[in-house]
């Protein structure tokens, strides 16, 4: 059904008007979104998942979402920045705070300095949301992850902030399952600059 337009003096019928209402309802104006999906991939029993060429000059900042559906064993997840098929394996620094049951904890670089630590996982309950600030810029990349994991059968929430101190432009990242394999859905979004 097309939108009907009218000229001066033309009779506007109820049917025509209602058709236009129907058209308008079926064709809402595009709403500008701050998030643009760059890549969505379902991964299955992967130890290492490298996502190439998702960071560019189009966006400054990015969101990465992972919804875990399986983990082959109790292990940890982490992220490394990547460019030209090579992961950066040094110069990460992270500060984390978390809780499990009634216990809270925190610490600096407790997962080491060779990657951005995310959380411990097991079973199927894990998820994380990561924000990367300016990974494509030739400047240090900032990092924030909130996540749910599992440790010793209990749920484990964690917030990790950090930076990668190299002034290198990165175009992708690697998601590392440190001991075994993981399955789940991985999505990368670009955040509109304005």
């Amino acid at each position: 059904m097309a939108l009907t337009t009218y000229t001066n003096g033309e009779v506007l019928t109820a049917t025509s008007l209602n058709d236009n209402f129907t058209f308008a309802a079926a064709n809402p104006p595009a709403v500008a979104s701050g998030l643009t999906l760059i890549n969505s991939t379902t991964i299955s029993t992967a130890g290492t998942t490298s996502v190439n060429d998702v960071f560019s000059a189009t966006y400054d900042n990015y969101k990465i979402f992972f919804n875990q559906t399986a983990s082959s064993t109790a292990q940890t997840l982490s992220i490394r920045l990547r460019v030209s098929a090579t992961d950066a394996t040094t110069n990460y620094t992270t500060q984390r705070i978390g809780s499990q049951g009634a216990s809270a904890f925190g610490g600096l670089n407790e997962g080491g300095t060779t990657d951005f630590f995310i959380n411990a996982i097991n079973s199927t309950k894990g998820f994380f949301e990561t924000t990367l600030f300016s990974p494509f810029a030739a400047a240090p990349t900032k990092y924030l992850t909130t996540s749910l994991g599992e440790n010793g059968g209990g749920l484990l929430n964690m917030v990790v902030v950090g930076a990668h101190t190299d002034s290198t432009s990165y175009t992708g990242f690697t998601l590392l399952a440190t001991t075994g394999t993981i399955s789940g859905t991985l999505k990368v979004y670009g955040l509109a600059n304005s």
């Binding site: 760059i38 890549n39 991939t41 991964i43 029993t45 992967a46 130890g47 290492t48 998942t49 490298s50 996502v51 190439n52 060429d53 998702v54 940890t76 992961d87 394996t89 407790e110 997962g111 080491g112 060779t114 990657d115 992708g172 590392l176 399952a177 440190t178 001991t179 075994g180 394999t181 991985l186 990368v188």
Partner: protein, 71 residues
């Protein structure tokens, strides 16, 4: 060794492949680092627990009583 998944963010193409020797070496290195880190953290916790117990013994109170006193 677990498989590697590579995703091309531009085309969406997904490749599953065996890890390269360099990737296997890095994974081994990562595992060694994690083991050492976990041991260092466990050792530090053990030392802290020992120090705490020495102080509790000097004071002649239990850990529960100390928690009541110091919250």
């Amino acid at each position: 060794m677990t498989k590697v998944i590579e995703i091309n963010g531009i085309t969406g193409q997904v490749i599953e492949r065996e890890p390269t020797q360099a990737e296997m070496d890095q994974r081994t290195k990562d595992a060694t680092k994690r083991t050492a880190l976990a041991k260092a953290q466990a050792d530090a916790q053990t030392a802290k627990d020992k120090s705490r117990q020495i102080i509790l013994d000097r004071l002649g109170i239990t850990a529960d009583e100390a928690a009541l006193l110091f919250g």
